[in-house]
Amino acid sequence: MAASKIFVTGASGFIGQALVVKLLEQGHHILAADDSRSAIDSPHQASVSNLKLDRLDRAALLPHLSGCDCVVNLAHPHQGTLQEQLRSAIESTQALLQACAEAQVKKFVHISSTSVYGDPPPSRIITEESPCLASLRPQTSIQQALEHLVLQTEAGDTEVVVLQLGRVYGPGKGGETARTLDQMKTAFMAIARYGTGYCNPIYIDDVVTAIIRACEGSNLHGQRFIVSHDQPVLWKELLCGYESILGTKSLIHLPIDYQCDPQDSIPFFREAVSKVLKKRKVMEGTSAIAKKIYGKSIYYPSADEFRSLVAQPIFSNQKSRDRLDFQPQISLQTGIERIREWWGQNLPETV
C-alpha cells in the first residue's frame, strides 16, 4: 500500500497500538483517535496526530476525515448503563460512517468479533453465512447491532468491510494475555471440562496483517470476514502455555461444565491439594487454604466464561483466504514463545 492517511479510532487499545505501530513502520500518516489518550510510543512520532474525542460527532469528525484514505474503527463503548452504551455506540458509529461518506473516505474497516455468531458460538463449523445467535452478554449484543448497522447504512462511495476477530492474544499491555497472566499469577484458575473447549486464539501480528489487507483490498464492499485459525486450539493448550511462562502451577481442571458455587468445587480442589500435600486435612474454605498454602486465591470464571470454556466452535477462514489473501502465520507455539520473551522483559512493569 502506498503511503496514505489512515484514521484509527480506539487507537490506544491493545489492537490499536499494535496496528498504529505497524502502519507507521510502513510509512503511513496516522490520525489516532481515542477518548483516553495515552501517546503512541514509536520512533515515527512525527507521522502521528493524536486526537482526543470523547464523543464522535459528524461535524467534529469531518475536518479530520477529509483527505483520509481509510478509517479503521476499533472503538468500543465502555461507560454507562447497557442502554446508554448501546445508544452511544450506535450514534457514534453512525456519525463516523456519515462523516466518512461525506468526506469521501475510500474505505471503512469495522472491527468486530467472532462472538457475534453466539457467545459462546454453537459447537459446529461457523462461516460468514452462519446466523448471529442472540447472546446474554451485552457487549456481544452491541457488537451484533453495530455490525448490522455498518453493513446496512448507506455510506456513499465508502467501501465498508467488517472483520470478525477470534480471541486476540499476544504481548502488550491492555490485552487479554496480560490480563490472564496477571490473574494466573495471583490466583488459581478453575477451568471447566478439563479445558477441552476450543479457544480459537489469533496472534496480534496476524490480526494487524488482516486489518492491513482489508485496508488494501478492493471490491470488498459489504463483506464480513472471519479472522481466525481454522484448526481448533484447546483452552488447555493456551492456558498451559501461559502456565509455563509463569513457571507456577495455576490451573485447576474441573470435569464439570457449568459454573458452580465456589463451595461445590471444594471436592475437586481438595483432591488437587491432597495430591500435593498427601496427608493434610482440609477443613477450611478453598480460597483460604489456597491463600495459606500457596499465597494465591482462586479465580472462578463467571458462567459466561465457563460456557465459553466448554464450547467447541470451529471458524472457517476460507473466505478471508480467498478474498483477502490472508492466512494466520503464527502458530500457538511461536506465539507463546514471543509472549514468554515479552513477559520476561516487562515483568516489573506488569506487576
Binding site: T81, L82, Q83, L86, G118, P122, S130, P131, C132, L133, A134, L136, P138, S141, I142, Q144, A145, H148, Y258, Q259, C260, D261, Q263, D264, S302, A303, D304, F306, R307
Partner: protein, 509 residues
C-alpha cells in the same frame, strides 16, 4: 423413527410448566388418559421445598442450573432482547416469582375500543370459576379486598398492607390507583426474592399425579413437529426428539395441547406450517411483552424495614389510555437496587450474584407495563439455520417504541407523585428500563380471537382449522395486561381442559 407407543385414547400435553400441569391435572381428574411430554429432566432428585424459612437453596439451585436452557435464537430488532427457557420439570414456573393476580373484567374489554383485533373472545365471567379452582389448587396468600381494577382472589391467608405503607395507600387513592397486599402463592411469610421459586406448581402437582394410572410423564422429550391426520383436519400426534438417546419418536393422541411456554408453542407451530396450520401467516405475529422497569428510591423518611411485597395497581380505566398502563410490585428492602427479574434470573442462571446491599433499606417499584400488540412485533423462522434440536432457528423481532417508553415513564412519574403526596422524603437511586423479554412474559403469538383472520385459536383455545389442537399457554393472550399473567394463563388452561373433557365425545377420529 421408532414408534414406541400408539394409542388414540391419550391426550398429549406438551410442556410441564404451570399451564401444562394444570391442564393435565384437570383432565386426569376427569378420567382421561394424559401423556405429558417435557423436554427437561424428570423429578429433581434433591428438591427441598421449604416454604416457611428461606432455606430452599443449594441442592435445588444446582439441579436447576443444569437444566436451564440458553435457547439459540436471532434478534432481528432490539439487539438486547432476551428469551429464556427452562428445560426441567415445572418449566419456567421454577423461576416464577409467585405473584398471583386476577385480570379484571375491563382487562378483557378495554382493547375493543381501539380496534376489533384487540377483542378477547372470552371475558372475566368465563374465567371466574376457573380462577377460583386454580387458586384453591395452588393456595394463595393475599388481600381480600376487591377494587375496580383488581378483583380479589380466594385467599387462604389474609394479608394486610404493612402499617408503614398506610400513607402511601392513602396517597394512591388520590391518583386513582390502589395499594394492596400482593397476592402470592403459599405461606404468609414467603418473600419472593428467594429463587428458585418455592412456587414450582409443576413439580408440586405432578408429584401428586405421577403414580396415577391415567398419567404418563415422558421426560427428555423435546417436541419438534406436529403430525396431522392424513385425511381429516385433525392433529394425530407429535414427533419428539429423545434428548438422551437422540432418537426421533412419535406420540399419538386424540387431542394435542401445546403448553411449551413463552414462544415454545409458537416455535413448534411455525415449524409445521403447512396449508392448514398457519395458512394466513398469523402465527408468530402480535407479539407482546410485559415491559419491565425497575425504579429504586432511597427513602429517608419514614424509616422502612424489609417487609412483605405490596402491589400498586394500575389507575382506574377512565384515567389511562387503553392498553397503555403500568402496575407495580413494591419491595421494601427485600431486594437491592438491582432490577428484580434481572437479578433473579441472573443469580439463577449463574450469571453472578447480586451486588452487596448498601446501607439503609431501598424501596423498589418493579414496574410492569403493557405493550400494544402491534402486528410488526413478531417471531419467525430462519430460512435455513437450525437450532440445537434441529428446529429452524427462531428469530425475534421486537422493540420498545416511543409509546412504550412513554408508558413506563408515566409510571415512574406516578410513583414519584405518590411518594410526594404521602409526604415521604426520597431520592432516586436508579431507574432502569430493561430490554424486551426481561420479565419472561412474552405472549400473543398464537392469539385467541373469534375471527380466524385475526386469531389462531378460538374461545376454547382450539385452533380454528384443527379442533383437536389446543394452545393453552400465555401465547394465546389477545392483548397484554400489566398484571402478572401466570394465574390467568393457568385459569385459561384449566378452562380449555375442562371444556375439552365436557365435549370430548365430539372429538376423536
Amino acid at each position: 423413527m421408532s414408534i414406541p407407543f400408539i394409542s388414540d385414547d391419550q391426550i398429549v400435553i406438551v410442556g410441564s410448566g404451570p399451564t401444562g400441569t394444570v391442564a393435565a391435572w384437570t383432565l386426569v381428574k376427569a378420567g382421561f388418559k394424559v401423556t405429558l411430554l417435557e423436554s427437561g429432566c424428570s423429578f429433581p432428585k434433591s428438591l427441598h421445598l421449604r416454604v416457611r424459612d428461606r432455606e430452599i437453596r443449594r441442592p435445588y439451585a444446582l439441579e436447576l442450573r443444569d437444566h436451564v436452557a440458553y435457547p439459540q435464537f436471532e434478534n432481528l430488532d432490539d439487539p438486547l432482547t432476551r428469551w429464556f427457557k427452562a428445560h426441567l420439570l415445572g418449566g419456567l414456573g421454577s423461576f416464577w416469582g409467585g405473584v398471583v393476580l386476577r385480570f379484571s373484567p375491563e382487562d378483557f374489554t378495554e382493547g375493543e375500543s381501539i380496534s376489533e383485533r384487540y377483542r378477547w373472545p372470552i371475558g372475566y365471567a368465563d374465567l371466574e370459576p376457573y380462577y377460583s379452582r386454580v387458586e384453591h389448587l395452588i393456595g394463595v396468600s393475599g388481600g381480600k379486598v376487591s377494587v375496580p381494577v383488581l378483583p380479589a382472589c380466594h385467599v387462604n391467608h389474609t394479608l394486610e398492607v404493612p402499617p408503614e405503607f398506610s400513607d402511601l395507600a392513602a396517597a394512591a387513592q388520590k391518583l386513582d390507583r390502589w395499594l394492596l397486599p400482593a397476592n402470592h402463592v403459599y405461606g404468609k411469610s414467603t418473600l419472593f426474592s428467594q429463587i428458585p421459586s418455592p412456587a414450582n406448581i409443576g413439580v408440586r402437582l405432578l408429584g401428586q399425579l405421577r403414580r396415577h394410572k391415567n398419567f404418563r410423564l415422558i421426560s427428555n422429550a423435546h417436541v419438534t413437529q406436529l403430525h396431522l391426520h392424513q385425511t381429516k383436519a385433525l392433529a394425530a400426534g407429535v414427533e419428539y426428539l429423545d434428548r438422551q438417546s437422540g432418537e426421533l419418536c412419535f406420540q399419538s393422541g386424540r387431542a394435542v395441547m401445546l403448553a411449551a411456554g413463552q414462544l415454545g408453542s409458537t416455535h413448534i407451530l411455525l415449524n409445521c406450517s403447512n396449508g392448514i396450520i398457519n395458512a394466513d401467516g398469523l402465527i408468530g405475529r402480535y407479539l407482546h411483552d410485559n415491559m419491565y422497569a425497575a425504579y429504586t428510591y432511597q427513602i429517608d423518611r419514614p424509616p422502612l424495614k424489609e417487609s412483605l411485597v405490596s402491589y400498586l395497581t394500575r389507575p382506574d380505566y377512565s384515567k389511562a389510555k387503553p392498553l397503555q398502563t403500568t402496575g407495580f410490585q413494591v419491595y421494601a428492602g427485600a431486594l437491592n437496587q438491582k432490577p428484580l427479574a434481572n437479578s433473579k434470573l441472573r443469580s439463577n442462571l449463574g450469571l453472578g450474584s447480586p451486588p452487596p446491599q448498601d446501607e439503609g433499606v431501598p424501596l423498589l417499584f418493579a414496574c410492569f407495563g403493557t405493550q400494544i400488540p402491534h402486528d410488526s412485533r413478531c417471531v419467525s423462522l430462519h430460512p435455513h439455520a437450525k437450532d440445537e434440536y434441529g428446529l429452524p432457528l427462531l428469530r425475534i423481532s421486537t422493540r420498545q417504541d416511543s409509546d412504550d417508553i412513554a408508558t413506563l415513564d408515566e409510571g415512574r412519574r406516578a410513583v414519584e407523585a405518590l411518594m410526594e403526596i404521602a409526604g415521604w422524603q426520597f431520592s432516586s437511586k436508579s431507574s432502569a428500563i430493561e430490554p424486551p423479554g426481561t420479565s419472561v412474559h412474552f405472549g400473543g403469538t398464537v392469539r385467541m380471537h373469534t375471527d380466524p383472520k385475526l386469531g389462531v385459536v378460538n374461545a376454547v383455545n382450539a385452533m380454528h382449522e384443527i379442533p383437536n389442537l389446543f394452545v393453552i399457554d400465555a401465547s394465546c393472550f389477545t392483548t397484554s395486561v400489566e398484571k402478572n399473567p401466570t394465574l390467568t394463563a393457568m385459569a385459561i388452561a384449566m378452562r380449555a381442559a375442562d371444556l375439552l373433557s365436557q365435549n370430548s365425545r365430539s372429538l376423536g377420529h
